[in-house]
């Protein structure tokens, strides 16, 4: 059994490898070569924790595994990350456990990779303004990854707590880009690409806010009841997702489907665009939306890449198990 502790992850894998792993597995999912198992998510009734796992199997890459973990709101006071994740990989030929990998940084990397894959395939080619909604821990990962896929010349942002916008400004400045804190109306009007990554249970970005040929990567909604966009905005977009089943049940599309504004059959797999089976954006004026719900196969894909890199770089801990 190979062990790759959390502290080694940053030295092993970056945005490029994460992007490739996620792009490949979205393509495999759409070809039917990879599928996710049902998600387990439980309010355990202790420490206010939400715990669960996401799992799946990529038959093409023979990658079988699960990510276990959840949200422990009291962790920060103990000097720990509130989100705690560990990824376990199994040998698809024998069922024996193969590797245990720290999953905290990988979760941020694979989530940023997903929105970036959507930007690569769906954003307007000449996108210049990136709009960020949300300024939490993952927003920095999202921004760093997004700017590698279009030639942005400005970043604008909004957050429920404006005092946290300094995070976005700091990262934008590191990237050599100007940053401006804006209203949601200005954000929706000016941004060519919008990334929303919040834990909101009420719509933040409204239909009337958004004009023009925008691409929205909606990355925060991963639970029944969560919502970042007004359903009417989803209703008039060409909609793509990582996994349709999750999109309509726990993703952003749950609300537009419930309101009868879109049908399940209106939701396209991003993998179909990667595989050339869907044309993606058809004009610069089109409104496109990526509903990134987060699937276990993303975790398995980046963790598999990390294990290979850890072995290659001599930092994998081997335990006779």
């Amino acid at each position: 059994m190979i062990i790759v502790p959390e502290k080694e992850i940053a030295g092993l894998i970056g945005r490029k490898e994460s992007f490739e792993a996620v792009e490949n597995v979205f393509a495999a999912m759409s070809r039917g070569d990879a599928y996710n198992f049902p998600v387990i998510r439980e309010n355990i009734g202790h420490a206010d924790a939400l715990y669960g796992f996401k799992s799946g199997f990529d038959r093409a890459g023979l990658a079988l595994g699960l990510k276990s973990g959840g949200y422990w709101p009291g962790n920060e006071a103990k000097g720990l990350t509130n989100h705690q994740s560990t990824i376990f990989l199994f040998d698809a030929d024998t069922g024996k456990v193969k590797a245990v990998i720290g999953g905290n940084l990988l979760t941020a990397l694979r989530t940023a990779a997903a929105s970036s894959v959507s930007i690569k395939y769906l954003a307007p080619k000449n996108a210049k303004v990136l709009g960020m909604i949300g300024a939490g821990h993952q927003s920095a990962f999202q921004m760093r990854s997004a700017v590698e896929h279009r030639d942005f010349d400005k970043i604008i942002g909004w957050n429920y707590h404006p005092e946290m916008l300094s995070r976005l400004e700091d990262v934008a400045n590191e990237l050599g880009l100007p940053f401006e804190a804006v209203s949601l109306g200005q954000l929706g009007a000016e941004a060519d690409v919008i990334i929303s990554i919040t834990s909101s249970f009420d719509p933040i970005l409204m239909d009337a806010h958004v004009s023009g040929g925008t691409h929205i990567a909606c990355m925060g909604t991963d639970t029944k009841g969560k919502q970042e966009l007004e359903a009417a905005l989803v209703g008039r977009a060409t909609v793509f997702t990582d996994e349709v089943a999750q999109s309509i049940s726990i993703g952003e599309c749950q609300h537009a489907v419930a309101d009868g504004l879109i049908a399940e059959s209106d939701i396209n797999e991003l993998g179909a665009v990667i595989n050339g089976n869907h044309t993606g954006r058809s004009s610069e004026d089109e409104l496109t939306l990526f509903d990134g719900t987060g699937v276990g196969l993303q975790d398995i894909a980046v963790a598999s890449a990390v294990v290979d890199l850890a072995v290659k770089n001599g930092v994998a801990i081997e335990v006779d198990f």
Copy 2:
């Protein structure tokens, strides 16, 4: 993170500790202090494997975890066990992974412990004849554990492949007890306690086979469609189980419930007997049945005990994770 490899398990835990762990967690489940999460079980479409996980949380013991694994029918030809299990424990206060434990021997021990807990609480006090149906890998564990809870003077057995009965005879002889291969009719008529542990999809033990105040521990049925007992036999027994939800969906009771012979409300928790909230057997002539479906909390309970023993005995491998 603590690691306890499969090869260390036999030296750390035996029947006594497994029995106590399972008895305690059945009691905690019935008090509402511990609960199992939904079971994931998937035919992964590779190597004919069935893969999945069972998981749960014991709030009383703060034991949170999952058993991952499954059945790989091609393993035996590679010199590996077909059933492959690994148990993962998490810190209930922070969500961090706490331990990785080999789960193969523990699965056999916790399953034998479950039927033995049922024998302790439900079998006739003066039971003398133990009847075994099934002679696979787990049958030996079942027999060794069962004989510790009643003063049996004879073991009788039946198996679909009679040539495998030598396993039962060998173990009985080791235990100093005579063994006799019998017909199902003779087994049902003579045995005071019957343990069935097969992977059958058709009823083996029929209603007409069984007479008198028998206790049946039905341990093989853990999947939709599996069946060891004729539904009418279940229908006339006083029925107990580890978890009612599993009993009616994937356990032996699925068939009697589907046939309308018993209702969900007729099925009692074994934990209620342990806690003194159900009297259990009311007379020596009663037919009692334990539907042992196998729950994640059993795995978590024995694995937690193993981790404590491994630390105490200095064989736990500690990895800075």
